[in-house]
């Protein structure tokens, strides 16, 4: 098998299988949770659940990840908090506005949009990678994280890091031949997609539950989430 064949395999059957596992696995987990049943909260509202949820999303998406000082709570661990926020921001920027990724979106949904200039993309991909390294070091040294971290967490880290680093190398045309690095990128992406339903990277799916619940609970009690 030469690299051209490997590339054909990884962007063909492998990626398709990975996507099927990704979608089927996450759907299963979602349905599993939904089927556990939901009881209606019968306590009378003091404020608006709806507004609580809206405020919570706005705060969570816009304000807090980048301004940890707002709550004066994160004074012991600001770097982790900012690294976490920047990691997610970088990931979304690259996935949504990376020129190559836009082509993938076009093939999936039929329309496309304008990508960001290369230097900006380079900045965000580097930021994402650096943030991940900081988060790794933090996880290796913080006592609470050491206690919480089990083997699957390292897999989570690795399967996210590999597509990022291979994507970075490919976009900058460094060191490797195109077929080689593109294959490695696609294999690592497939690995990520296959792993997501089994680990905690799936939090993006349940984020909408917990975030809505917290906002609604705060709104119901007339407090700011």
């Amino acid at each position: 098998m030469n690299w051209t064949e490997i590339l054909n395999f990884s962007r063909g059957p492998l990626l398709h299988v990975a996507m099927i596992i990704f979608i089927a696995g996450l759907s299963y987990r979602l349905v599993r949770v939904l089927l556990l049943g939901w009881e209606r909260d019968k306590a009378k509202n003091k404020g608006s659940k709806f507004w609580g949820a809206i405020v919570n999303y706005l705060k969570g998406l816009v304000v807090l990840p980048f301004i940890p000082w707002v709550r004066r709570t994160f004074r012991h661990n600001e770097l982790t908090f900012i690294a976490g926020g920047l990691f997610h921001l970088s990931l979304f920027v690259i996935l949504a506005f990376g020129t190559a990724h836009i082509m993938v979106w076009k093939s999936l949904c039929g329309f496309s949009w304008k990508g960001l200039p290369t230097p900006i993309l380079a900045f965000f991909s580097a930021t994402g990678i650096i943030s991940m390294v900081i988060l790794l070091l933090n996880r290796l040294t913080q006592p609470v994280l050491k206690l919480l971290t089990r083997f699957p967490v390292w897999i989570n880290w690795l399967v996210v890091f590999l597509p990022m680093i291979t994507g970075f190398i490919m976009a900058r045309h460094l060191w490797f031949k195109y077929e080689v690095i593109f294959s490695l990128h696609l294999i690592s992406v497939s690995l990520l997609l296959i792993w997501i339903p089994f680990g905690r990277i799936s939090h993006f799916l349940f984020y909408f539950f917990s975030k809505t619940i917290h906002g609604a609970q705060a709104g119901k009690r007339a407090v700011t989430p």
């Binding site: 599993r32 917990s210 619940i213 917290h214």
Partner: protein
């Protein structure tokens, strides 16, 4: 080893695990940021006090029963089944190093409701009979005698009579047809009678038609501290039954945070509650009486020494009564009222709530937390602090004594009553 009691804990966890619990356990990324919010972790540095770690028994029970990943992890030896020793270990963590103040939920990037989930962990402990001895003893007293402090019917009557005489505050007992039923805590009755008398004076001054009940006389709910659902219901049922018998329109919860949380937010989901009876906290009711002109308060009555307000987790952060006590304080001490930071929803807990103060073995924990509170007080050079929860007040009075601080501790009602015109 797993005995029958561990099995009852696991059964409780599985019963508690609806979509509401499951979706939040699934959302957790194990980022550990919640530890930043926990006053017990911040004060003592024990990583096991991180709120997310307190959920371990619930998480394990849930994952191993309901998720493929959980079953895999078990098969590969990456996770362990819950054993007796685990529950005993976590019992100390969830009862002695958590006030269920839910600040962690406010810092969690995912918004996971750690407080209510820790309450669920406690429920399993209660089912397994693994409640700390002191807490269990107080609960037993509430069950059999009617008060966690062991106040008997006779003693209750004597104290009410004594307070009536001593403070010249009329306290109507079992008055059928009154509009409001006021339910006090044993803490107020035995330790802060001044606060009880103050509330009586305020209500009398406002011309409120109110009463206390000799059968529904305890508002504190030690079943709720333990998270024993049956006892939680029983203790609230006593009050609801009294309210129905007296035909009142509202139940006024006196200065107790957990009680307000139980009656206002938990009761409708746990039991049948009397129709048309509203639940209000005394601080919001006093504010209402003042705003509607039924009370007149002398402006600046407490101006002089710096006074601050301590936010209670269940009344402010989880109860939404944030602006009312502040507006009252701005009337009472417009020049001397200063806020601590952080405050309101982000406030730092006193360290004694959630039953912690009733557990002797947790004394070191709560004093350590109070040192953080002390730093907050000293930062603004407060000479007095005021609050609307007797449990907080007990922790403050005890800790101020322990650390020998020159700070006066007040209940809000007590200040209001002294400023009545």
């Amino acid at each position: 080893m797993k005995s029958q009691k561990t099995q009852s804990a696991i059964n409780t966890y599985l019963k508690e695990t609806g979509g509401w619990v499951a979706s939040q356990l699934e959302a957790c990324t194990r980022c550990g940021i919640c530890a930043e919010a926990c006053h017990f972790y911040q004060a003592l540095g024990n990583p096991e006090y991180a709120p997310v770690w307190k959920l371990e028994p619930l998480r394990r029970a849930y994952e191993q029963r309901f998720t493929v990943a959980g079953k895999f992890k078990l098969a590969l030896g990456l996770d362990k089944k819950l054993a007796d020793s685990d529950l005993e270990h976590w019992s100390k963590i969830v009862y002695e190093a958590c006030t269920v103040c839910n600040k962690c939920a406010h810092v969690c990037p995912m918004g996971i409701q750690l407080g209510p989930l820790i309450h669920a962990v406690r429920a399993g402990m209660a089912a397994a009979g693994l409640v700390p001895a002191d807490l269990a003893e107080a609960t037993e007293k509430q069950k059999t005698i009617g008060s966690p402090l062991g106040v008997t019917d006779e003693l209750w009557r004597e104290r009410i009579d004594w307070i009536t005489d001593e403070w010249e505050a009329e306290i109507p007992v079992d008055k059928v047809g009154a509009e409001s039923l006021v339910v006090f805590t044993s803490i107020e009755l035995m330790k802060f009678p001044d606060n009880l008398a103050a509330i009586a004076k305020i209500l009398n001054k406002a011309g409120e038609s109110w009463t206390v009940s000799s059968t529904g006389r305890e508002v504190v709910n030690f079943g709720y501290f333990e998270a024993d659902e049956e006892l939680t219901r029983l203790f609230m049922h006593r009050v609801f039954k009294a309210a129905e018998e007296l035909g009142v329109k509202r139940i006024i919860i006196s200065e107790c945070g957990h009680a307000y949380d139980a009656f206002r937010w938990a009761a409708p989901n746990l039991m049948k509650v009397p129709k048309g009876v509203e639940i209000v906290h005394i601080s919001e009711y006093i504010h209402h009486l003042w705003k509607t002109g039924r009370l007149k308060l002398k402006e600046g009555a407490f101006d002089g020494e710096t006074i601050t307000f301590h936010d209670s987790c269940k009344i402010q952060r989880r109860g939404g009564i944030i602006k009312q006590p502040r507006e009252l304080l701005r009337q009472l001490a417009p020049k001397s009222f200063v806020e601590m930071t952080p405050n309101k929803e982000q406030s730092l807990c006193c360290g004694g709530g959630g039953g912690v103060i009733s557990i002797k073995e947790a004394d070191a924990n709560r004093y350590a937390v109070f040192e953080m509170k002390m730093a907050q007080l000293q930062e603004i050079q407060a000479k007095a602090v005021c609050m609307v929860c007797s449990n907080c007040r007990l922790q403050f009075v005890d800790s101020v004594g322990h650390f020998n601080l020159p700070i006066k501790v007040h209940g809000l009602a007590e200040l209001v009553s002294k400023a009545l015109i």
